[in-house]
Symmetry: C2
Subunit: 220 residues, 2 copies
């Protein structure tokens, strides 16, 4: 099963979203603030509606409260972001599932970065590998030290690796630009690598640090 | 004087850009790849046109070559990004000026992050304080340890501080949510703080680490 979070970022398109989630076997949907409107418009069942609803019309809030399995209204002034609160709830109710995030990119760069910066939070370290951030031309996953196979997504041309920390022994095989046990003393952005074949996985390994792998394509 | 870089990111609007640079005392303009088209369309003099021009029409390349003071064609396969090459050139020719970057946000998240990740590069550490990344609803600056005053921009509602590393002794005064010598063992995103007054500077200080300060507003 998959827990699908829909947040408020502008890098989101309803048709793209519906096409993506149609392919999921089973899913529960969590709407974050204005993301709740997106789920309501999509006609999807809402497991949790959560947010401070600062900029959400009252009619939408009432509708969400009526149809959502769970409805949580957060304070406007708070230490936690709405997205952090949504993840905390999900970790309590659906600890073992894959977490997909839509509406996570675009718009205010501080919001976008605060989403990516979740990867640094100690309480999320064990969950990172299950989290995928999805935009219209980007699909991002987080990796901790280990060895992984990554499959090419159809229609995504590029594969980038971006360190969130220093990285040790980074090895990339099955890609156009291979690496063999390279150390990076500061966070690096290795962009626009490519799979060597659209039907062959690549292999990633490293022994220290925290890394994002991003499959991306140029906007259509 | 200001060195104004125009890159290819979609978070860019020609009217917004022209209004911004109209306020500059003196400026030289550097077009990066498709950013060259933006400068040509704006009718601005081009000091440097640089890029691999992979996705730039030949007619635009010829026009840029004809009118730019300096024209550099980069290889398509290379270790450096076009933006890194542009900054390297600027550091050689205009080492002491303020650097403003437009077209730096939006679109492919790997491109956007590779721009922000410039802040980690050792050879740019002394230049960071002179660099400003500007989008339609964001204005981002980099800070190394020290004490700074930051002035509120008109029409920007929020002020966020995002650590690129661990941070020590972070102190914020003159803002809604103040801090007094707080340590953060891992990179944090402190979003949606606010100036206490639109005509009063705030004060930022910290003793260790690397920090971004972002003034932002909700999209209009």
């Amino acid at each position: 099963m998959t827990v699908v979070f829909v947040a408020t970022g502008p890098d989101y398109d309803q048709d793209h979203f519906l096409a993506e989630v149609a392919g999921l076997d089973q899913a529960v949907f969590i709407g974050i603030d204005r993301g709740v409107s997106r789920l309501l418009e999509a006609g999807l069942p809402i497991e949790l509606a959560i947010g401070d609803y600062d900029s959400v019309p009252l009619a939408v809030q009432w509708q969400a409260e009526a149809v959502a399995q769970h409805f949580i209204r957060l304070a406007t002034d708070k230490d936690q972001t709405d997205t952090e609160a949504a993840i905390e709830w999900a970790l309590n109710h659906y600890p073992d599932q894959a977490y997909y995030f839509y509406g996570i990119f675009g718009g205010r760069i501080d919001h976008e970065l605060s989403n990516l910066w979740l990867a640094y939070q100690p309480q999320l370290q064990d969950k990172l590998i299950d989290m995928t951030f999805i935009g219209l031309s980007n699909r991002l996953k987080f990796y901790r030290p280990g060895t992984y196979q990554i499959s090419p997504l159809p229609d995504y041309d590029y594969l980038s690796f971006i360190g969130l920390t220093s990285i040790k022994n980074l090895t990339l095989t099955g890609v156009k630009y291979e690496l063999d046990q390279v150390d990076y003393p500061y966070p690096i952005a290795l962009v626009s690598n490519e799979f060597i074949s659209s039907d062959q996985d690549m292999r990633l390994s490293f022994s220290h640090g925290l890394l994002m792998a991003i499959q991306s394509r140029d906007a259509g």
